[in-house]
Symmetry: C2
Subunit: 707 residues, 2 copies
């Protein structure tokens, strides 16, 4: 594969390194901030220990898992096995892929570790900042979150650039992406189960049975709850978007490599690094957005966060055009048709980004407390628990329609412009400003924690009010970023699917009229349903254990409730940590074994249809669960703000039921589906060489199920 | 189309007529039974009036709707329009199709009317029967239900046989099926909204706020609730299965006509009527099963109902072989290969039937109160409202997996045996004993009503206990029949989809790698989600109105609660009736316009993929909602039987929340999806001629979205 690696790739590498440097500078600045009084430092210390413990246990298990898969990639995809029917991408590069797999895993773990450590350091400092001004509190929290955003994007870009520079083929980047993806699966599912085990457990006993306020330090699960916010929303969400980000770039690289095989080496090289360059432009845009936010005064923190998103979008669109022009100028022998094509692809990138913003915006409409859906859900709480559930359920389902249309339009337009490569570039565009998205998202748990610490550290009403204001801005931003993340992951897996199909070969079709294809699609549609069911049951089982533990502590030591002795935070953290690990085994096995089984039994075309089915139903369930959960949450908060009778009423109680049902929807099952999809598509791609050995890719039974 | 119509078709006609005669004899016998005391007759009269009113208003609106579609079929599918690219099925026969459309509508309305009228007459008579013995009560209720089962199957078989005899082509039977389908859409959605408006309204105010017991005559919505059981579960379910039944036969007829075009006219004729004959054998088996049940003593009514299903299955398998043999003997010039094919098709029929029983059985496991899922859901009620919802939700999702595998295996095996025609015959087999299924299902609301009448008519504790026993048997049977109905409809729409595809032409493919196909599948997956959301919101909106009305009555007339004056049943019935009609307009428009729009915009291949997507996601949501609802219902009943503390505890209260959420899941949205799917596939098939005129079937935009 004599691909020329253009020197412009150095831009991506430099920007990636710059991003990590900025992240480290931000980290140092945050560590220099005042961590507050002794009580605050103590509580923050508990949270930090819990978070570190979870990461430590997770990473230990993950290391074993990663090593096993390393060996599998090394041994079971040897080039001589696939030499008869060698697909262009997989096979032939197993050593390199296996090493890239390790690198991808480590890069994702590094980003997760740095982001989370700074996140837990930032919380008490942001709370202390609120004692000075809302500006100060916001700054600490926002830059704390930015560390995660910059670490994710920076390490992904560095990893991809370096690997492509060394091995000069997207095939090895596939290994990197698969590494990021398996980490994301563990972090997202594990973190999601952890956070909701603690949250639901703390609410059910502490709030409902003993009427303790939110974040009360007497509640044994309160620290676990705070830890959960960090491991679920910072580490989990970060690794999820790391995963989607790498996958979108990879898909475009693979497609460029395959589709441009007729072009000159120089042109082909330019097209392959095209997605990397545009992603690095997105990182510059995110960086500028982040620094601009620093320059502004914090009147309305929610608007400020969204301003960062919009400004990054705008800067990206403008700078992107400049870089396309530079790439065209620096590519030897590029034809006019190829120049037109690059501009078309640039248009696809912009389409992708705009539709991402649009999808985030519709999620916002369905979950904001000043819009009709959430208001109606809140009002339906007046008719009792059952009606608020039905209402949120129905609006959650309705909310699937606008983003589905958004994705359909984005895919149609970009496909019309430049076929499947256009779709892949739209995915790159949608994920380009992921630095901003992750930053905004990581801001949420930091301010959530600071609010708790402000309360527990006794900083007084006024400071808590400021912390509350910062917290509610986090929730607004979160709704948008979540819609964004799901939409982006969806488009990225579609792009990966196309690269999978191109990889199989020219004559590859997935005609739904063939029974094996239809069965594949059927099983695919069911897979995310099974996966979500297992995650929700996992939360429910663990929360029950948590409930027992909290009740035991209250009953066996009366001094806890009197506030004379601290509860045993260690045991609740232990339950959440161990439970999360135990419960993610089955979902992990499913996500890796299902694609391989379907491909082996029904053939690689059926596997393609399986992936399509899974992507489509996964999209529906992810959006439905996230938005229903978000709307229930905000309906409850709106009632707590004094509407419809406010706190303590039956209406409020019903809205709490809605919120509790929504918790695992929006923070465990819903967002985990993203990582499931990416892992399944990458597993299919990486094991393709092996699957093609079974009756030439027809699978054991596929031949009996075609006309 | 020179197809020979074999004389064996007369068998089907005779059996159909026989079935209607038996239904009428049963009706007369039931009318002769003692209707009980004055109070019972009065209450039963209210129910009858409410049910008749609903039917009257529905049928009046339906007549207009049917006439409009009659004109549409007549004018917009004229043969000269489609002469350039005339599909084998549609086009060319518009007059005949339009008339058959009217006949299909009327036949379905007739079956619904007869079944429901006898159903509402049977309830008070069954209650009176319980004063004599459980046997007597069971007999009246069961034969009351059988009237619906026999009327449905009899009129469907007569309609299909006569239309095929006269017009000698399945194309006209398509019109009949479309007629049945539009009626089913209105009856099922309308009935579903009606029944849950009344049920949820009655529960929320009467039970929750005023602590009235179930079926208390002081509750203004109690009669509407009883009417709802009849219109939703008898008329709605009957028209739904009428619809699936006709659709499955039609699909096999169309495929036989297209696939056997190379065979002699005699053989082709035999294959076309093959599904009709086997369906009539299923009716004989159902009839024998029903009569056998009469001969047995009622120890355990639940087992007796299931015994009827199993015995009908067995008789059908045995008799079916005999009839295949007769058909082979009476077909001139049938080749050995064709004889083997008929036996293979017979095997497909048996496979279909067995997998139907299997699917019903797994639904049973997920909803029975003596199995783990329902027990776990009940136990989770101890942790509050939110946890019982989460648990039911998760088990409902899990319960999708076994029937999905069942359908996948049935489709694979039957496809392996005889391609798409094999799949169509499996659908025929699954629906063959629908007479028994509908009978068992209609038994449910009759005994549910008799229990209410026994209570309200003051028949005493012992009689209520007997009526309760009959009622609980109804619930067990219902779980099985519901799973059965969804599975059968699913297979039937797949068969219809294949006939749609065969109709488009030989070169027709639906390759998911084409963007228009992928977009089609995407929109298809979303369609049932939107549809379900609208239905649930409809129930919620109407129930809110019902709640206001009930509260008004209690507050404005204190004598109602004291039992001195009857409440105004009329106004609650009015709310349920009008609300149901108003709210089904949007879902109806969606189900007919979406397929036409997708076909017109993205082309007929994308429309095929749209249908696949809708069938798959529709299956998931239908099973999930039905089983979650059933499990919540039974978990509540299990707690009410005295487990986990029994009635009046917080656990019981939480289980009621689960049940109320489950109500519109299992009785409105879930089962309505079946009819949505059938209507969409038939709409696509009937408007195919028109859609092929748009850029040769590529649609307005389809050409831009293919490579």
């Amino acid at each position: 594969m004599a691909v020329v690696v253009p020197l412009t790739l150095i831009i991506a590498l430099v920007i990636g390194v710059l991003s990590i440097i900025v992240a480290i500078i931000f980290s140092i600045l945050i560590l220099r901030e005042d961590p507050g009084n002794e009580k605050m430092v103590e509580i923050s210390g508990y949270i930090e220990d819990g978070a570190k413990k979870f990461l430590w246990v997770q990473y230990r298990i993950l290391s074993i898992f990663v090593l096993v898969l390393f060996v599998v990639i090394l041994l079971f995809l040897p080039s001589d096995l696939t030499s008869n029917n060698v697909p262009v991408i997989s096979g032939d590069m197993n050593w390199e892929q296996a090493i890239a797999y390790i690198v991808g895993s480590v890069a994702s773990m590094f980003a997760g570790w740095l982001g989370m450590i700074i996140g837990v350091k930032a919380n008490t400092r942001a709370a202390q900042g609120c004692t000075k001004s809302i500006d100060k509190g916001f700054d600490v929290a926002f830059f704390g979150g930015s560390v995660m955003g910059l670490a994710v994007v920076g390490s992904a870009l560095i990893g991809i650039s370096v690997i492509y520079w060394i091995f000069q083929t997207p095939a090895v980047v596939l290994g990197f992406s698969f590494g990021a993806s398996t980490i994301a699966l563990f972090m997202k599912c594990g973190g999601g189960i952890y956070t909701k085990t603690a949250d639901v457990g703390a609410d059910l006993v502490g709030k409902a049975e003993y009427q303790l306020p939110e974040d009360d330090i007497r509640n044994p699960a309160t620290i676990a709850d705070n830890v959960g916010d960090n491991v679920g929303d910072i580490a989990g969400m970060g690794s999820d978007l790391f995963d989607s980000y790498v996958a979108s770039i990879l898909a475009a690289m693979i497609l460029a490599n395959l589709l441009m095989s007729g072009a000159s080496d120089a042109v082909r090289g330019t097209f392959i690094i095209f997605p990397i360059i545009l992603s690095s432009v997105g990182l510059i845009a995110s960086l500028i957005g982040i620094l601009l936010i620093k320059a502004l005064k914090t009147k309305d923190p929610g608007k400020l966060l969204n301003f960062g998103t919009y400004i990054a979008t705008f800067i990206f669109a403008a700078l992107g055009a400049l870089f396309v022009w530079i790439m065209i100028l620096t590519t030897d022998g590029i034809t006019d048709a190829q120049i037109v094509r690059m501009w078309k692809d640039y248009a696809c990138v912009v389409i992708g980004l705009l539709s991402g913003v649009l999808i985030g915006w519709t999620s916002d409409i369905f979950t904001r407390d000043d819009k009709a859906p959430t208001r109606n859900i809140a009002r339906s709480a007046q008719e009792g628990d059952a009606v608020v559930i039905l209402s949120g359920f129905a609006y959650g389902m309705l909310s699937v329609v606008p983003p589905a249309l958004g994705i359909a339009v984005a895919m149609s337009l970009s496909y019309f412009l430049d076929g499947v490569f256009g779709v892949a570039m739209a995915a790159v565009g949608m994920l380009a400003i992921v630095g901003t998205v992750v930053s905004n998202d990581a801001y949420g748990p930091i301010v959530d924690n600071s609010r708790a610490i402000a309360e527990q550290g006794g900083l007084g009403e006024e400071v808590i009010r400021i912390a509350d204001k910062l917290d509610s801005a986090g929730n607004t931003a979160k709704a948008i970023t979540k819609g964004f993340a799901i939409g982006a992951a969806n488009l990225a897996v579609f792009a990966l699917l196309f690269s999978y199909a191109e990889d199989v070969g020219v004559d590859f079709t997935m005609d739904l009229l063939n029974m094996n294809i239809l069965i594949g699609a059927f099983l695919g549609v069911v897979a995310p349903v099974l996966f979500s069911a297992l995650l929700i049951l996992a939360v429910q089982r663990n929360a029950a254990k948590m409930v027992d533990e909290i009740r035991d502590q209250f009953e066996n030591n009366l001094k806890i409730l009197e506030g004379k002795e601290p509860p045993n935070f260690h045991s609740t953290i232990e339950i959440a940590t161990k439970g999360a690990l135990r419960e993610l085994i089955l979902p992990s096995i499913i996500s890796i074994s299902f694609p391989i089984l379907v491909g082996a039994i029904f053939g690689v075309a059926a596997l393609g249809a399986f992936l399509v089915g899974a992507i489509l139903s996964g999209f529906v369930f992810a959006i439905f669960m996230s938005n229903a959960g978000g709307a229930w949450d905000n309906a409850k908060k709106w009632i707590e703000d004094g509407n419809l009778g406010g706190k303590g009423t039956a209406t409020h109680k019903a809205s709490i039921t809605g919120d509790t049902v929504g918790d695992p929807f929006k923070d465990t099952a819903g967002p985990s589906i993203n990582t499931l999809l990416v892992v399944m598509v990458l597993t299919a791609t990486i094991f393709l060489g092996l699957l093609l050995l079974i009756n030439g890719g027809a699978g054991w039974l596929g031949q009996f199920l075609t006309p």
